[in-house]
Amino acid sequence: MAGGRRASDGGAAPGSGPASGGRAAWGGWAILRAAARAPFTARTARELLFCLAGVAVALCVIGALFAAPLGLSVVARLADRRSPVPGVAPGPGNPAGAGLFAFVTGAVICLALALMLAPRTARGLSGAVRRLARRLFGETIAPPPPVHRRGWGPLGWFTAGWRDGPGWRAVAYLLARLPVAILDGYAVFCCIAGPASMTYPLWWRLFRNHPPDVQLDPVLVLTPVGSFRVATYAGTLVAFAAGAAMVLAAPWIARAANAADLALMRGLLGPGRLAQRVRDLEETRARAVDDTATLLRRLERDLHDGAQVRLAALAMNLGRAKEKLAEGGEPADLAAARELVDAAHRSAKHALVELRDLARGIHPPVLDKGLADALATLAANSAVPVRLHADIPVRPTLAIETIAYFCVAELLANAAKHSHANSITIEAAQRSGALRLSVVDDGAGGADPDRGTGLSGLAARVRTVDGRLDVASPPGGPTRITVELPLRA
């Protein structure tokens, strides 16, 4: 799961400062301050370290790319040496065919070796990059499954390398990140050449012990966009300005490069989208199965301890009453029988209530008339006053309606129980093929899905149909909980 996003400490990125429209001037100042501070943050150090590693990796890749033709040329030379008379046209006395054969064989072996080694090497190299990203940015990308080996012996080893999908994806990653490495290089260059250029005026002053009329050799100033020469003190000030610009720019170049690199990593090194989907589905399916089992167990328990007991007691009391009436018409027995029938009557009514509640818990009959009506019933029965805006033109499937209903029911119950809210607003709307429910209360806030099982249980249930549940509940309120569900599960 590519859950962990990069940690964002140190200098705030532009735009992440206070960005309210009325305080534009303040916002601009904050951006300036952040920009000035950026080169000296720990985060920039980490970004630059990652860039440096990126350059090293790129050099390795380029080296490997050159190594392949080099190998071929070595093979060619060896093959050439094997032909008896070099440079002489092939004839009966000069079996150049042998040389050609040796060359082709060597080339094939070289190619095979490359095909076999490339995915494995790429796995190792990209694994190192992945580990570094985790250490520096907290970016967790699930490692690929180990090489799946079919067959035996060297052939099996070879085919395993050749058919190694994740390995080839790692190769693709290493090649795709070569352009990114140019940015990496710029960032590293800026943070070396920038400070160096900024020292020019100092050197100029220190070594200004030349006779007045002597023309000094111009000094070279390097920048990422070209180089220029300065020959005067004023010129060195320009060099200083260029250096300062480089130092200020370096963090942002590094960030851009690393952002691109991490995006490539997520795309090519992480589990593929299908694998991720399979993992999600497995998780939610297990959850759904568990939920069902738990629900059935709870139903059985409720029936056993509730209605069944009442009905058994009722039958027993009626049986006893029957006996009393059968024994004879003594007044004392009649009174006892009446008492027993009375108890049985009470038991029957209780059993009815319990069965009705249970049945409603399984499937609320009001849902048959649509989610909007069901929500209106919920709102009317809520302990806290509820305002409801429901606009559901297309009916979702029954499963979705049921989940939506129970979500809102539980959220209302939560709000009534924990938030001390005075009013609750429920909104239900359809937007771009999804059902969007929000429950907002003006209570104390501080609802945390990680604490307590209520909200996380709801979120899990919503996830089984690819929906999502978002909680915004700052301490002091208000609490807004949004549930988004597809129209059909």
Partner: protein, 217 residues
């Protein structure tokens, strides 16, 4: 008859107490869980204990385990187990040890007060009381395995009633036939099952139950 009752639902517990006291039996103790049951039996040494299978804390088979403990530690006390469901395995466990003084009934049977008190009395005096559901399940489970298929439908009926713990007279009354006919059927059953004829109702029932119960244990 002196009785101890263990049942966690107060409604049922009080009903059972009232029912037995109406009939002039002495209820020494009515408790809501298994530990209290064991303690009460140790204190009062009743003739019989009525035990609900599902009791706190786990609401699974506390009552059954307590019943098995009672069978081992207090063989003189009959144990009548009550349950909302019939589990063949539980029946087999109860019968494995000894079928004397054991009962296993659905809670529904309590509604027929006379029959229930009858069954309880049977258990208290060392007899057996099995729910017709238990018997039919046990018979069903072994029909194929043990050649019960050889029995005629009538003989199977007689065997079922026998397994419930009824005497020949009781069986005759239930089937509205004469005692002689029942005896003939019983003899036929023992013949077909290859069981040696023994004396007395109880030993006969024991033989049948052991035959039914043994492969399950």
């Amino acid at each position: 008859m002196r009785v101890v009752i263990a049942e966690d639902a107060a409604l049922m517990r009080e009903g059972l107490v009232g029912l037995l006291e109406d009939r002039g039996h002495e209820v020494c103790a009515a408790v809501p869980d298994a530990d209290a049951l064991l303690a009460a039996v140790a204190t009062h040494h009743p003739d019989v204990a009525v035990v609900d299978i599902r009791m706190p804390p786990t609401h699974t088979d506390e009552g059954l385990r307590a019943a098995l403990d009672l069978r081992r530690d207090h063989p003189d006390t009959g144990v009548l187990v009550l349950s909302q469901y019939i589990e063949t395995r539980y029946a087999a466990q109860l019968l494995a040890f000894n079928a004397a003084g054991v009962g296993y009934l659905l809670k529904d049977r309590v509604a027929d007060v006379a029959d229930f008190v009858d069954a309880l009395t049977r258990v208290a005096t060392g007899g057996t009381a099995l729910d017709p559901d238990v018997v039919s399940q046990l018979l069903g489970a072994h029909q194929r395995a043990r050649g019960l298929a050889d029995l005629t439908p009538r003989e199977r009926e007689v065997l079922a009633l026998m397994a419930e713990g009824r005497s020949n007279t009781g069986i005759a009354a239930a089937l509205t036939v004469t005692g002689g006919v029942v005896e003939k059927h019983v003899a036929g059953i023992f013949n077909k099952l290859g069981l040696p004829q023994a004396e007395g109702d109880n030993r006969r029932v024991l033989a049948v139950l052991r035959y039914l119960g043994s492969p399950l244990t």
